[in-house]
């Protein structure tokens, strides 16, 4: 018998209870043991829930119950969740989480703590919702030196961009629609400013490259600056605007990670990832590019990733399973200024001016462009510094990288 406690009975936590109940027989068969949900910790009661009799309010009951083997942390945030995670690990319980903020901020410490106490800390659900990515990155691609990870990591922003591209909605209208459909929160900052994608690329970079990459080392630009003019210019050259999280392993061993809107060619499979779907491309030196695609959020998909970790932890009750990476530090990460790209530029400028500054510029057109607006792709790949130098003197409105 393996006993599970869920911390936080919100969307994901209640999904975990539901998946454990619905697929219980199948799951017990997989584990070759019985998995039982023993406690649900929440500040609230849920008298109408079928799991009402499991709800408790005092974490120390879980902490002190030697029967509890696995703690599922679906509280979110980095404060209470961190305290309970540390206490659970110290009490010799494996912890499974969907909490990207906590893993991105404190993953190194928590993984070390888990190893010190001979238990597992697993976080498949923290990136890509239900999409299997953490385990494949760690195991299936183990034979490869990973050179780059690039993904559409946030469903909310991808939904907004999809609606701007397909339905011609403005950013504000698309955001409002996303909120009405439950795809965006009332305070959408973490999504639209790119913080959520930033946390996820930190986790992927840490796992793939072996040192903790912290969110404050990852320059992050959201989608609030994307306009329908940019969407139209992108379309005119066979591209779509997508918010990408990227992490590049440099030859010197350092990591360059960043989050920013990019123009993605229609030939690239990432361009076909629409609505709330996520996709993550991993480039390895042997395998080339592989892509993982699916629902990046949602109750049951995320819960299914949590439960897969619960199954894994349950199967490794005796021989523990350690994921992990080395400590972070200022030397681990470098800013993306040195990464060369072709750039998309929209400026208030005459084409002669642009041609003088960018001899290879490819000019773009859109219906209804106002007088004096000029959009183009730099003909050659440039670092940000080279771009800024060439832009000097031009009234530049916005620039985005073009994905290779």
């Amino acid at each position: 018998m393996v006993n599970v406690a869920i911390l936080g009975f919100g969307v994901v936590g209640s999904g975990v209870a539901e998946v454990l109940a619905t697929n219980g027989e199948h799951i017990d068969h997989k584990v070759e043991d019985l998995i039982r949900l023993k406690y649900i910790l929440d500040v609230k009661d849920f008298p109408d829930s079928p799991f009402a009799d499991k709800v408790i309010h005092d974490f120390s009951i879980i902490e002190n119950d030697p029967e509890v083997n696995i703690v599922v942390e679906t509280i979110g945030g980095a404060r209470v969740a961190r305290e309970f995670t540390e206490r659970a690990l110290k009490a010799g319980k494996s912890v499974v989480t969907s909490n990207k903020e906590l893993v991105a901020e404190h993953g190194y410490d928590l993984l070390k703590l888990a190893e010190e106490h001979g238990v597992s800390y697993l976080f498949e659900a923290s990136v890509g919702g239900g999409i299997p990515i953490i385990r494949p990155l760690n195991q299936c691609l183990a034979a490869n030196e990973i050179t780059e990870i690039c993904g559409i990591l946030n469903g909310t922003t991808n939904y907004i961009l999809t609606r701007m591209i397909r339905a011609g909605l403005s950013f504000a209208a698309a955001l409002k629609e996303a909120q009405e459909n439950g795809y965006a929160e009332q305070d959408p900052t973490a999504d639209i400013e790119g913080h959520d994608a930033c946390r996820k690329i930190c986790i992927l970079a840490s796992l793939a490259f072996g040192r903790h990459v912290y969110p404050d080392q990852v320059p992050t630009q959201g989608i609030t600056g994307v306009t329908l003019a940019d969407v139209a210019y992108a379309e005119s050259c066979g591209k779509k605007i997508k918010l990408l999280g990227r992490a590049i392993h440099r030859p010197d061993g350092r990591v360059c990670a960043f989050v920013a809107p990019h123009l993605v060619d229609l030939e690239d499979p990432l361009s076909g990832v629409e609505d709330v779907f996520n996709a993550i491309t991993v480039r390895g030196n042997a395998i080339g590019d592989v892509m993982f695609y699916g629902r990046g959020a949602g109750k049951l998909p995320t819960a299914s990733a949590v439960v897969a970790d619960v199954i894994d932890a349950a199967k490794h009750m005796k021989t523990k399973k350690y994921l992990g990476w080395g400590p972070g530090g200022a030397e681990v990460a470098v800013p993306p200024a040195g990464v060369e790209s072709v750039w998309y530029v929209r400026a208030n400028a005459a084409s002669d001016q642009v041609r003088a500054a960018f001899p290879g510029a490819v000019f773009l057109a859109r219906p209804g462009a106002p007088e004096g607006e000029c959009a183009f792709l730099t003909g050659t790949a440039l670092t940000r510094g080279m771009l800024d130098q060439a832009l000097c003197g031009l009234d530049c409105v916005c620039v985005f990288r073009v994905l290779d």
Copy 2:
């Protein structure tokens, strides 16, 4: 120290040696042990290879060397490969293979033999080349009841179809080009008749649904009957023709697996899978659809999947890792006759005739269609039996299912 022997120094076998050498440091770090390539078994010598000193010709040297822990079988076929696999497993060595034919035909017996001898039999590389699919299906999606698997499982046929669609080449011309580019064998039968895809869907179905599904239980139709006329009609209704391997888990527990060309909507991510790429969509009751995408063949991608299994086997030297499924049998699989689809039909018939037989028919058009040719989609989903009944009396040239 973990010692590895490679059986068969062809494309994949030499790729395995190359990946072990190139990424050796990284791999040893992953395993926390030293992985050493000790033997390469082949009938030929390779005097110019950097691995020439490891080449031997007598399998019993490997079989009787207690230092050899892991045998990599990249011989292919189901005869010699089967004998050596059985002997290696019986000698207490874990076996890693890329041999889809052997796993599809004898997987149940070999997995049982491995378990009896306390060793692993791993086959990530047998499906989807380098794409991680076996392990995610077994582990990451473990919380789900899998309801359907649907994939573009053969790179050769996908290349041919892509060239027909994009460049307007006939089937014969596209096949010739594929052969010239090394994407198709001189005898392309196994690919173009769907046998290769059939073996792969057998392996996926067996793993996902828990009973061995044999190739002779899987009705298989290749792409030799696909013409440019069909490509054009498909395009006219926003679809592409793709060769799909499908396995459906029926509510009664039985499996319906088949391989056939399908019309796939442009909105479906499978439609964007071009050239020699493969993609596999897995539908789970919690996760919804997830897709795995990458190079389905090729020396280094396939070798990288083999080496990932070698790493896994090396990490599980003491606590063995068992994959497996139950025995097959006539009761396990049912033919796809009962699966309802909308169908694409091309016939020599008048539209009145068609309208009488299929009241909801959606007629398709293409430039240059000869007099009397009539192509349409059945308006409603029909079983094959219902379709055949309605087609009775029409001079039908070809029918393909439309993917939901």
